[in-house]
């Protein structure tokens, strides 16, 4: 396939902007959250945009990553970067356990993945497991607290997420995934291994969320199961991707910058107003613009990065 340089310029600009941003703007936590959602949105884009599976329980991988990191630090006294690997491993393990869910289609998959995330939450937050997970009382990882370092690790993870999506958009494998999304029977007959394609996309998507969850745990260092498995993480990621438009780099990016921007402007003080706005946006999008903002351009035959 032809390579599209615009696919590289846009992520490079975003990464550069967030690399210098902490020196210009003091609210590092907000910047960190932007990075986290930018990466989560692209991670969700991998599985939703390229294979059509919409995991409402995407937060499960994020939570698994956060707790994988926390358990490695608390019980193994692992250094942060090794604990990051543990977080990614936990998310991948969960994704492997949940592979059978890919047999389900559409709505069933969405609901089942949500149930799976809730189940993991119930286990992690269970007081009966307090000696392992600290149950509902949360974890404190102050020994490894390193906000600036973890900020740049998060930025690197965003780079990985961008790279994955750029690769899928410009590779034949990404094309094969889209073929599976459009028609699995035809894709199989075109020689594409449907099971393998879906599995790879699912694992990559889980890996991104696990890494983001792990770096969140590191950056924030004190958190509760309610925050690590907050359904809002799933909801925001889904909304950002749908709003901007899946399968593109730009769509999820726009979704995060615009909607999370609005959220930070009004949502933190009065979250329910923000909730109402994005609820209404989703309803309007499904009815009038099912492929998101970018479809205003793609419908005119323009290629959007």
């Amino acid at each position: 396939m032809r390579k599209h340089p615009a696919d590289l310029i846009l992520p490079a600009l975003v990464l550069a902007a967030f690399a210098v941003a902490p020196f210009l703007y003091s609210n590092e936590l907000m910047l960190f959250n932007f990075i986290a959602f930018l990466a989560l949105a692209q991670g969700l884009n991998i599985v939703y945009g390229f294979t059509g599976y919409l995991p409402f329980g995407y937060v499960g991988f994020y939570g698994a990553g956060a707790y994988g990191f926390a358990l490695a630090v608390m019980h193994l006294h692992a250094p942060p970067l090794a604990a990051m690997a543990a977080g990614a491993g936990a998310a991948l393990l969960l994704a492997v356990i949940l592979l059978p869910l890919l047999r389900l289609s559409g709505a069933y998959f969405a609901i089942a993945s949500l149930a799976a995330a809730q189940a993991v939450y119930e286990v992690v937050s269970n007081p009966a497991l307090q000696h392992i997970t600290k149950g509902p009382y949360g974890v404190s990882l102050s020994a490894v607290f390193a906000p600036r370092f973890s900020y740049y690790v998060a930025l690197a993870i965003l780079g990985v997420a961008f790279a994955l999506v750029v690769w899928l958009r410009n590779s034949r494998f990404g094309l094969a995934l889209q073929a599976i999304r459009e028609d699995p029977v035809s894709a199989g007959m075109a020689g594409v291994s449907v099971v393998r394609g879906r599995t790879v996309a699912w694992l990559l998507s889980a890996l991104v969320a696990g890494l983001v969850g792990a770096v969140f745990a590191w950056h924030i260092s004190v958190f509760y199961p309610d925050t690590a498995f907050d359904l809002g993480v799933s909801i925001f990621s889904v909304v950002f991707v749908l709003f901007g438009g899946a399968t593109t780099l730009t769509g999820p990016l726009l979704g995060v910058l615009i909607l999370y921007g609005v959220y930070n402007a009004i949502g933190i003080t009065v979250p329910q107003y923000f909730q109402f706005i994005y609820g209404a946006l989703i309803v309007g999008l499904v009815l009038f613009l099912p492929n998101g903002l970018v479809s205003l351009l793609t419908a005119r035959g323009l290629r959007v990065p």
Partner: protein, 291 residues
């Protein structure tokens, strides 16, 4: 203890059948997933709370009012969104997303209106003291809610099997295309089913404070998972299978709460995943669709 858990489970099961029934009716007739189902139920609960605190209305009266009002709202709402959805290529998936948006709007408006405080209704409204059933002592509000649920479910049965509109509704469930071809006014039948489904969710909401302890604006997603577990166990798209699903779910929940109480919250999630993976057609369904 075992008998008590089973009896309470059956009573709760009738209630859970009511919780799932509307969701299943919508899926059965329209093949769309109403992800705002839990939020509609929540609205029913707040309606009952408001009618009691402002006018002193008994929950039973509130249930009748809620049923009527929700049907009246659901009927036009159907025309507003569903036909448009069904024109799309992947209407099942799009419906999930659209009603998810609607659910967020409902939750937001409710939060703005009443705040995030948990609300409950005094249990004595539905009777004081225990009710002895097969040697098990159950709080009277549970039994009351279970009976109302059974009546509502029976009403749906009578509608589907003893009225002309109900018969047409079942025809649409079997095959929408065939029903269209034979000249059935599919939209009218579906709109009514949609209204009834919201009404049933609303009634379930009225009794939610008694059965689930309290209501909050954010309870929707949890209710959805429970409702999904119930209807998936009892066969998707088959409203009456929901009763069996509700009872199985209710008994399983009570047994879990009796013997492994700290893990009881895992039940709806694991049950849902297990049934979807092992028997996606439901425990009682014939293999009619590939999930």
């Amino acid at each position: 203890m075992l008998i008590g858990a089973v009896v309470a489970g059956v009573v709760f099961g009738l209630y859970f059948a009511l919780v799932g029934l509307g969701l299943n009716l919508v899926f059965g007739v329209m093949r769309i997933v109403n992800l705002a189902h839990g939020d509609v139920l929540m609205l029913g609960g707040y309606a009952a709370w408001w009618l009691l605190s402002a006018f002193g209305l008994h929950p039973l009266v509130a249930a009748v009012l809620v049923l009527g009002v929700f049907i009246a709202v659901g009927y036009p709402l159907y025309y507003l969104v569903v036909p448009q959805l069904q024109r799309a290529r992947d209407s099942e998936m799009l419906s999930l997303i659209l009603f998810f948006g609607l659910s967020q709007m409902i939750e937001a408006v409710t939060t703005i209106a009443v705040g995030t405080t948990e609300r409950s209704l005094p249990g004595r409204m539905l009777g004081i003291g225990p009710f002895i059933l097969l040697g098990a002592r159950l709080p009277k509000p549970w039994v009351f809610s279970g009976v109302v649920s059974a009546v509502a479910v029976a009403g749906v049965y009578l509608y589907l099997y003893r009225t002309r509109l109900g018969m047409l509704t079942r025809a649409v469930m079997v095959s929408r295309d065939e029903a269209l071809a034979t000249g059935i006014d599919v939209h009218r039948v579906s709109a009514l089913a949609f209204g009834i489904a919201l009404g049933l969710a609303g009634v379930a909401g009225v009794f939610a404070p008694f059965m689930l302890g309290s209501i909050t604006p954010a309870m929707g997603p949890d209710i959805n998972l429970t409702a999904f577990a119930v209807i998936v166990v009892g066969t998707l798209g088959n409203p009456l299978g929901t009763v069996a699903g509700g009872v199985i779910y209710g008994v399983a929940l009570m047994l879990m709460q009796t013997y492994y109480s700290s893990w009881a919250n895992l039940l709806p999630n694991l049950l849902l995943i297990a049934v979807l993976l092992v028997r996606p057609e439901g425990l009682f369904g014939r293999k009619t669709r590939r999930a």
